[in-house]
Symmetry: C2
Subunit: 327 residues, 2 copies
DNA sequence: CTGAAAGCGCTTACAG
DNA sequence: CTGAAAGCGCTTACAG
């Protein structure tokens, strides 16, 4: 275990300067910041190890712990971190950019070795938090600011799922989502939907953005169904798609006879319903583990930020009816 | 925020002695240990706060993050902790006593203000870890060692659910669970089942203990069904009950026509299936929040340990057939 | 922007 | 078993 003195020596500065860099207070030149950060990373430096500070921790921000998708990520991250001797701090944004900033601030107070973030909007999120430790985006695309990311091609997933429905004769396809401002993943999936509809020469429907956080089992779609008469509904994620299925059933509609439903994520509960949910499987667990590995590599070995894209896979289920077959 | 010097002054000893007590090294008299511990608790002392240690944290251990029940607890704890200015550290046991001990050890290294634990077996778990910060059991019954707990009456829940089935004419009721050694909650629910069966003069069936951690969608019950020919199956939790439903459907059995199913927990996904799951609702979110509040009260205000029991509620669904009605 | 130096919180041989 | 004191790792006014 290395000390601040060693870091300072390697960086060619005083312990005072090194301390200022690593605590992001005091005025330091950019050059100095780079040198100290590099030296610290190379030595695997951690503050005050002698003072019983314990093991390092990584901070994880997800929109919601109760969404199985993020729970799966979190679980994988935790397993990977434990294996590497790191603790895991958690925070949730509840899909709210304001809470998101607070949550990250609270993580930062623990001086984590690094952060894994699933944010509302990677371009705008955390614009104010200046100095962050090594950070990996999970599920979001990389930006100029956050160059390390592990994601899947949500645009392609949205396009492919829509193509799947179009191929089966669906034309009036309704896309239902939480608020796009809260999830660039949902937004990209919708953009993929638009692309597929256009490519097929079909008139896309405007997305139905709803607040679904705590009321999935009370979802009421009767107005939207009456107004738009869709033959198929895409939920921006499986949890929402399952909620849509529940809402349709409460309306007395049968799936897929009266209306087809599909989602994204591939949560295992989608397999347990009477009719298995058509979905696009996203390897959340694998993505979480990969994000943790990348982060640890960056934080401990000063590895350069990278961007990984993991493949999705369309999983046809029984919730989509083929309209081109006579029944 | 108090320093070691203040603790030493209050305990009437030197900082050296106080340090030895709190780090559990060096030789100290029992009397001294008591005085220093007490002083430290009263002052809410935490090591090295000046060295950028940041805000206090509470450590949470749950069996599995991907079980929606524990995710709900964790989420509530996190919200409550954030509100009180505490960070949350997580660890999971994967229902394995050995991993459980490791996980708690890793939490302790962060010197959390307190712990919230859902353990495999509160009587045996963590027998080795000597000095713990203020600790609240969540979901487990209190023991002589862990006197603070927030739980529900799992025995009563098991009994009531079994009575519900008995009242509807079921006699051959099979109880399916993960390994009892991994969950005293499941065990208590089964004991409640035994009690109800006995009270009704019925021959109880031996519980079917299975490994279900990562293979719920491949569950195969055909042997058990053929051997025991139950008219109803109780899953020790909803996730398992949903898995049972999936397995029965893959066998070509219809629910509840051919066989009835019920579970425990009241996860919202149980409402989204075509036929809503009969279950015993446990207020996980509320319990998590209550555990966090109790812990913070103990850690910050030296409140005495307490034991809260929150009420469960039977929620009849469509997965249980009334055999006494001609169909 | 940087460093020498004072000082804080803590740990730990050393002496008793 | 206990404390005075040396010393470590770190932060931070202060001076330049």
């Amino acid at each position: 275990m290395s000390t601040l003195q060693q870091v300072a020596f390697r960086a060619g500065c005083s312990v005072a300067t090194a301390s200022r860099v690593l605590n992001r207070n005091g005025p330091v030149s950019d050059e100095m910041v780079r040198r100290v950060r590099r030296a610290a990373a190379e030595l695997g430096y951690r503050v005050g190890y002698r003072n019983g500070n314990g093991r390092p921790a990584i901070g994880v921000l997800i929109p919601s712990i109760t969404n199985p998708v993020f729970a799966a990520s979190l679980s994988s991250i935790q397993n990977r971190a434990l294996h590497a001797g790191h603790s895991v701090l958690i925070a949730q944004s509840n899909y709210d950019p304001a809470q998101e900033a607070d949550a990250v601030a609270s993580l930062l107070q623990q001086q984590p070795t690094g952060l894994i973030l699933t944010v509302c909007d990677p371009e705008r999120s955390l614009a104010l938090s200046s100095a962050l430790p090594p950070t990996v985006l999970l599920g979001n695309l990389p930006t100029t600011r956050f160059t390390a990311a592990v994601a899947t091609d949500n645009f392609g997933a949205g396009r492919d799922l829509t193509d799947h429905l179009l191929l089966r004769g669906h034309r009036r396809i309704l896309f239902i989502s939480g608020h796009f401002a809260a999830s660039d993943r949902a937004k990209l999936r919708y953009l993929g939907y638009l692309k597929a509809m256009e490519a097929a020469g079909q008139q896309p429907l405007e997305a139905l953005e709803i607040s679904f956080i705590s009321s999935l089992d009370q979802l009421d779609l009767s107005d939207a169904i009456a107004r738009l008469s869709p033959t198929a509904i895409i939920g921006s994620n499986d949890l929402l798609a399952l909620g849509v299925m529940g809402a349709l059933r409460r309306q007395g509609l049968s799936i897929p006879r009266d209306i087809s439903v599909a989602g994204f994520d591939g949560i295992s509960l989608g397999l347990l319903t009477e009719v298995s949910l058509t979905t696009v499987e996203i390897p959340d667990g694998t993505m979480g583990g990969a994000a943790a590995s990348l982060l640890l590599d960056m934080a401990e070995n000063a590895a350069p930020p990278r961007h990984l894209t993991l493949p999705y896979r369309l999983r046809p289920g029984g919730t989509v009816r083929d309209l081109s077959i006579q029944s």
